[in-house]
């Protein structure tokens, strides 16, 4: 018997209904068996803010599944682990590996959401692969993780276990290079990265396509995210008369770079990837220094989509913070896992990690960003990169991500 799949509209209606009337659907088997879903994110440190938005997205999907009793006979329980350490001050790949071991060694954990950062993903993927535990990342975009060329390193056990509800830097970097060349008409660029796995990969992907588009790449240097002073690098860039800067990295170095760039090269075109599409851009950097920066995300922009508004309101009411697009991809990751579990139960099979992986692999799950399906390596088949620019909008609070990052459009695909 086939059970029709839950459509995105139904999700939205259910969300709206739950919000409007406090409608509680009785859980079908509240006291049933417990399945744990690992969630490993950098919940403290420099990326804490964006990590919590992602966490909330995943938790909301789990909560709704429990409320509606969608996975009959089972209760879903999150197993939340912190991928950051105080010594790193941000995500720490060594801690991420430890967390991956914790999840693998816990027999109740059947699937995972996360990690946020590719650097953590590279440490976790081999462990998850050996444990046959599938994870769905809402935001880590390094192409290496799913590239068959690195299969021996990141999926030694063979099958894809690293799935994504975002596309990769193999599209995020090059599509932004297209945007620099075609839309911004940049003739030259200086590229900086923050020495992390994500930042270096993104910067290299950008450079490859920028050269093809005829942008003159004046140089590529690496910033130490724990250092404070980037004036040396910026002075060098100013002296080279570059048209533009592209930064591959996250906010620990990004916040300082943005502040100092405003002092030294205020008029230059400046942009980066999803690492700087972050609340810290507005709180730690603030106006006027943040003004004008471009950032991308590796997913379609849906928080402004009228169809998603009910969900956005529910999220904001539940967690007292606005969702960003990666809160949505995290929610979508949760939906994919719930959908896989539901189909296994419906097929009358026992829930095992291997089966959960196979059912995630074959997903065609309606989510907020559309129907999610994966290729054989775990990458999402939909490859949209959205561009934003920080533009001060005095009508809204200056730290409101959804209003101060203005959606520019979809970056041109190659």
């Amino acid at each position: 018997m086939r059970i029709s799949r839950r459509s995105a509209n139904q999700i939205i209606l259910a969300s709206a209904a739950a919000m409007a009337g406090g409608l509680r659907i009785e859980a079908a088997a509240a006291a049933g068996k417990v399945i744990e879903i690992g969630i490993a994110l950098p919940l403290t440190g420099a990326d804490a803010d964006s990590a919590h938005r992602i966490l909330n997205g995943a938790l909301l999907a789990i909560k709704q599944a429990n409320d509606s009793g969608e996975v009959k006979g089972y209760t879903l329980k999150p197993l939340i682990l912190d991928n950051a350490t105080p010594t790193a001050g941000q995500y720490d790949p060594a801690q991420a590996a430890t967390n991956a071991r914790k999840m693998v060694s816990n027999p109740a954990v059947m699937a995972a959401v996360g990690p946020e950062m590719s650097g953590s993903g590279k440490a976790m993927a081999p462990i998850l692969s050996e444990g046959d535990l599938a994870t769905i990342t809402p935001s880590s975009t390094s192409p290496d993780l799913t590239n068959p060329q690195f299969a021996a390193q990141f999926r030694p056990a063979g099958k894809a276990i690293y799935f994504r509800t975002v596309t990769t830097d193999a599209f995020q970097g090059p599509n932004m290079a297209n945007f620099y060349a075609e839309t911004l008409k940049a003739k030259s660029v200086y590229v900086l990265d923050d020495s992390g796995a994500y930042g270096v990969g993104l910067a290299n992907a950008f450079i490859g396509q920028a050269k093809k588009k005829g942008i003159h790449v004046l140089g590529h240097d690496r910033l130490d995210p724990k250092a404070a002073d980037y004036t040396t690098a910026l002075t060098k860039i100013k002296a080279l008369n570059a048209d533009s800067i592209y930064y591959g990295g996250v906010m620990q170095a990004g916040a300082k770079l943005a502040k100092q760039a405003y002092d030294i090269v205020p008029k230059m075109i400046k942009g980066g990837g999803d690492g700087i599409y972050a609340p810290e851009m507005l709180t730690a950097v603030g106006f006027p220094a943040a003004e004008g920066w471009y950032a991308t995300i590796a997913s379609p922009h849906v928080t402004d989509n009228p169809k998603v508004q009910a969900w956005v309101k529910l999220y904001a009411a539940t967690y007292h913070t606005q969702p960003d697009d990666y809160a949505i991809t995290a929610y979508d990751a949760g939906l994919v896992i719930v959908d896989a579990l539901r189909r296994i139960v419906a097929a009358g099979k026992p829930i095992t990690r291997a089966l959960v992986r196979d059912y995630i692999q074959s997903s065609k799950t309606p989510t907020l960003q559309g129907v999610v399906s994966f290729d054989a390596n775990g990458d999402i088949t939909n490859r949209v990169v959205s561009v934003f620019q920080v533009v001060k909008n005095p009508k809204y609070p200056l730290n409101d991500m959804l209003k101060q990052f203005k959606y520019v459009g979809v970056a041109p695909q190659t």
């Binding site: 420099a46 910033l223 250092a227 002073d229 004036t231 810290e280 006027p288």
Partner: protein, 309 residues
């Protein structure tokens, strides 16, 4: 930008870095000179200083870079913030000495040094857990005044940082060389045993060294915030390690050595970033540390380390 203007600009950048490293290096040098102790808690006294300065400036109603002051209000606010910050971090240093290091004064071996590492972690985590991990927007009331010199740009805040740092360092040098307590400090540095026999109150000397060193670190922390417009619980390590290298380069224990060493490390950082690559700066700076320790452990200015050992 012409090559010479670019060079000049990087020298200006390096001097600002150097002024902060010098202020921080003095704290290492003062304590080492007297106790032969490398005080790793100094890293995070500097970091706490930048937070205290931030809170004081916020208390005066400043937030971010939105409020700009000029004339007397500017001088008053900055002067008050500097004094309060220096006093607070000075007392923090005295507290660290009194409650955690003095009981260990006569314990041989690296016990005291390891204790300072522990205190460093405590300060680090107290700030992390109370104010959070995000980078904080540091209030800066300085107007954006710039001068063009030989094609390079000098900003008011840079000139201010150089001038105040220089004044503080000259005052310290004057104090150590001319005052009675300074004389007692030098005597203790030379031979604590003999100094005690001559009637020098060693405890007072030690407390003075911690107070002055920590107060200068507080000033460094405030300048850090004013220069970069941010602060974070993480800033102690990189700055602290480089300042420590500066102190060793100048000759740990030597006050003029710390000043010169700081400026040299600042210049090395900015010029190596320009002419080699920023990613190599740390390698170069810490290679210098190793080379100095191997070939000239007394540093450029030689001693002031106790002669007892």
């Amino acid at each position: 930008m012409t090559p010479s203007a670019l060079f000049l600009q990087q020298v200006i950048n390096g001097l600002s870095l150097g002024a902060m490293y010098s202020l921080l290096a003095l704290g290492f040098t003062l304590v080492y000179g007297i106790l032969e102790l490398i005080n790793f808690s100094h890293f995070n006294v500097f970091m706490v200083g930048s937070f205290i300065a931030m809170w004081v400036l916020q208390f005066f109603g400043l937030s971010g870079q939105q409020v700009i002051l000029t004339g007397w209000p500017l001088l008053g606010v900055l002067g008050a913030a500097l004094l309060i910050t220096m006093l607070a971090t000075g007392l923090l240093g005295v507290g660290i000495e009194r409650f955690s290091l003095r009981p260990l004064r006569n314990v041989p071996g690296p016990v005291a040094m390891i204790t300072t590492i522990g205190i460093s972690y405590i300060l680090f985590n107290v700030i992390l857990l109370t104010v959070g991990a995000e980078t904080k927007n540091f209030p800066n009331p300085l107007p954006m005044v710039k001068w063009h010199v030989g094609g390079a740009v000098v900003e008011l805040r840079e000139v201010l940082i150089w001038a105040i740092s220089l004044v503080l360092m000259l005052l310290l040098q004057f104090f150590v060389q001319r005052s009675r307590l300074g004389k007692a400090m030098r005597a203790t540095a030379q031979d604590p045993e003999a100094a005690r026999m001559m009637g020098v109150e060693v405890d007072r000397v030690v407390i003075t060294a911690f107070f002055l060193g920590s107060a200068l670190a507080g000033a460094g922390g405030m300048f850090f915030g004013l220069y970069y417009n941010f602060t974070s619980f993480l800033i102690g390590y990189t700055a602290g390690l480089r300042a420590f290298t500066a102190a060793v380069l100048g000759g740990i224990g030597s006050v003029p050595g710390a000043m010169v060493g700081g400026v040299m490390i600042g210049l090395i950082e900015s010029l190596s970033g320009q002419y080699i690559a920023v990613r190599w700066s740390d390698v170069i700076i810490f290679s210098i540390l190793v080379l100095i320790l191997v070939f000239r452990p007394a540093g450029l200015f030689g001693r002031l380390a106790p002669t007892k050992s």
